[in-house]
């Protein structure tokens, strides 16, 4: 068969192609692009001055600081976990490996609200450890530690998920070579493994960070919504919205949408340059 005939036999005509592309773009436009445009449109509806004022109120600034603080704690911790878990899973054989991977993925299949609930049941005033915590004057629920714990739970699998298939594919011959040349374990990790996985690691950290800053359901359950103290940016958006301060709500929301856009751009750049295969990531 000539190339022309092959193409005709295994592809669609120009008209069907145009229709299919048009259909897909219309669907994406309606369901994905329009909501994104709406966030910025609503935020800037009353002018840039109102927008600037709305994101500089003391409560808004406090929520931005708290969100950055939560991400600064939970992302590095889960990054270290992701590296350790993927090293143990990909470099060694042991029984129960499939079970371990399933358990690591568990937080993905649990409702965010339930993710918050489990920490309330454990550390809340009526929780398992509640009386002990109260006696020692430690506050976890309706305080920052609870938000950190819920965020850690929600973002638990992100980095490990990204690294496990990547390291699996790279095998361990390079590490074995380094070890046979006399490098110790840390040197091997630092000079051989880390440079090999750095882009995949960055990719996982980006997604982990986006989720950590944007988590709503789990954080909402454990936070107590104390303004200026336990209000993260997504929670502040909800409070402003429920008070009918729509410009304020969309102004803070637009900062989060901007974070999402930066995440997507960085993610795409990493994909185009390093051809990462991430499959069904989250």
């Amino acid at each position: 068969m000539s190339r022309e005939t092959t193409l005709r036999a295994t592809s669609e005509g120009h008209l069907s192609q145009a229709l299919l592309i048009g259909g897909a773009l219309a669907f994406l436009g309606f369901f994905l692009a329009l909501p994104l445009i709406a966030v910025f449109g609503e935020a800037l509806k009353a002018g840039i001055g109102t927008f600037a004022t709305a994101i500089q109120t003391p409560d808004a600034l406090a929520s931005i600081r708290l969100t950055l603080f939560i991400a600064a704690i939970s992302v590095p911790l889960n990054m270290v976990f992701g590296i350790a878990a993927s090293w143990a899973i990909t470099k060694f054989e042991f029984s129960g490996k499939a079970l371990l991977i399933t358990l690591i993925d568990l937080p993905f299949s649990i409702s965010p609200v339930v993710s918050g609930l489990i920490f309330v049941l454990l550390f809340g005033a009526n929780g398992v450890l509640g009386p002990w915590l109260a006696a020692h004057d430690v506050k976890i629920i309706f305080a920052v530690p609870g938000i950190v714990l819920a965020t850690l739970f929600i973002t638990f699998p992100f980095v490990a998920r990204e690294l496990i298939p990547l390291i699996m594919e790279q095998g361990k011959s390079e590490e074995e070579a380094a070890l046979s040349l006399g490098a110790n374990g840390w040197q091997t990790f630092w000079y051989v493994t880390l440079p090999n996985i750095r882009w995949g690691l960055l990719y996982g950290v980006l997604l982990c960070n986006a989720r950590a800053m944007g988590e709503f359901g789990a954080v909402s359950v454990v936070s107590g919504h104390i303004r200026g103290e336990t209000n993260t940016m997504p929670l502040h958006v909800e409070i402003l919205y429920n008070e009918y301060d729509f410009v304020g709500a969309f102004a803070v929301a637009s900062l989060l949408a901007l974070l999402a856009l930066v995440t997507l751009v960085a993610k795409s750049v990493l994909e185009w340059r390093f051809e990462l295969n991430s499959g069904a990531s989250h």
């Binding site: 295994t10 897909a24 669907f27 609930l117 638990f156 986006a210 997507l264 993610k267 499959g279």
Partner: protein
């Protein structure tokens, strides 16, 4: 290879502290409740209505996403058009955009006086504050799961089988139904299952657009929050456990269907 003790030990400890021990708490709590109390809240009329709504809207949104997610994946893998990279990046937006932001944006679009809602209102179509609004939010949240599950399988599918089908006289549609669909079916089902599971538990994007009327547009996760706000920890636990059990059963069923279809395909 060094480091097994350190990394394996750290992995298990961290997994236990952050995930397993907290999760065990809810099972302990449920086990400690009397059966009557569990049923009284966990299977009350209001709770049953909430489960029906959550599972029903998640299934509906999953089906819409299976159709359009397949279309988007197909277009991204098979055709070239200007702006394709931007479109491909946009597909991941629901993974990156906080759910609360998506929720208020969709409400701004579909409320009766909203960007789109004002044109639907005269036609008698109500989206926001009805189950349709919940489905719209869950379509937004679930789409990338389907696209990203189907895309790699579609890209790996060799053109040779399609050529063979064409040589044997199959039309394009026959080739799609008989050759392409069976090959990407399991991936499509995976995408549907992921989108469905996410949709059942989804909270942030739904509560703004749903209107939250008990018995009509009150989703199960919201009912858990409502119970918590009344300090009804047992009630919240019962509803959460029922939700988890049903989700788990449905995902097991989907896994079984998948395993069966893989066996039939001889993969």
């Amino acid at each position: 290879m060094p480091g097994f003790g350190l990394t394996f030990g750290f992995t298990l400890t961290w997994l236990g502290l952050i995930v397993l021990i907290p999760l065990a708490t809810i099972l302990l709590k449920a086990a400690g409740m009397g059966w009557h109390e569990f049923v009284a809240v966990g299977l009350s009329h209001r709770a049953l209505a909430a489960y029906r709504l959550s599972f029903g809207t998640a299934a509906a949104a999953g089906l819409v996403n299976a159709v359009f997610g397949l279309l988007v994946a197909w277009v991204l893998v098979r055709y070239s058009f200007p702006g394709k990279r931007v479109v491909s990046a946009l597909v991941d937006l629901p993974f990156a955009l906080p759910t609360a932001v998506a929720g208020i944006a969709l409400t701004a679009l579909y409320a009766p006086n909203g960007w789109i809602g004002q044109f639907l209102e005269p036609l008698g179509i109500k989206v926001a504050f009805t189950p349709i609004g919940i489905i719209v939010a869950l379509i937004f949240v679930g789409l990338p799961f389907v696209v990203r599950s189907v895309e790699p399988v579609l890209a790996d599918l060799g053109r040779d089988v399609e050529e063979a089908a064409a040589t044997l006289g199959a039309s394009r549609l026959q080739t799609f139904n008989r050759v392409i669909m069976p090959a990407i079916g399991p991936a499509l089902l995976t995408g549907f299952a992921l989108a469905f599971a996410r949709g059942v538990g989804e909270y942030g994007s739904v509560i703004f657009i749903s209107g939250n009327m008990p018995g009509r547009t009150e989703i199960a996760p919201l009912l858990i929050v409502t119970q918590l706000e009344q300090y009804a920890y047992n009630g919240a636990t019962a509803i959460a456990v029922v939700m988890m059990l049903v989700s788990f059963a449905i995902l097991l069923l989907i896994n079984a269907i998948q395993a069966a279809s893989r066996r039939r395909m001889g993969i």
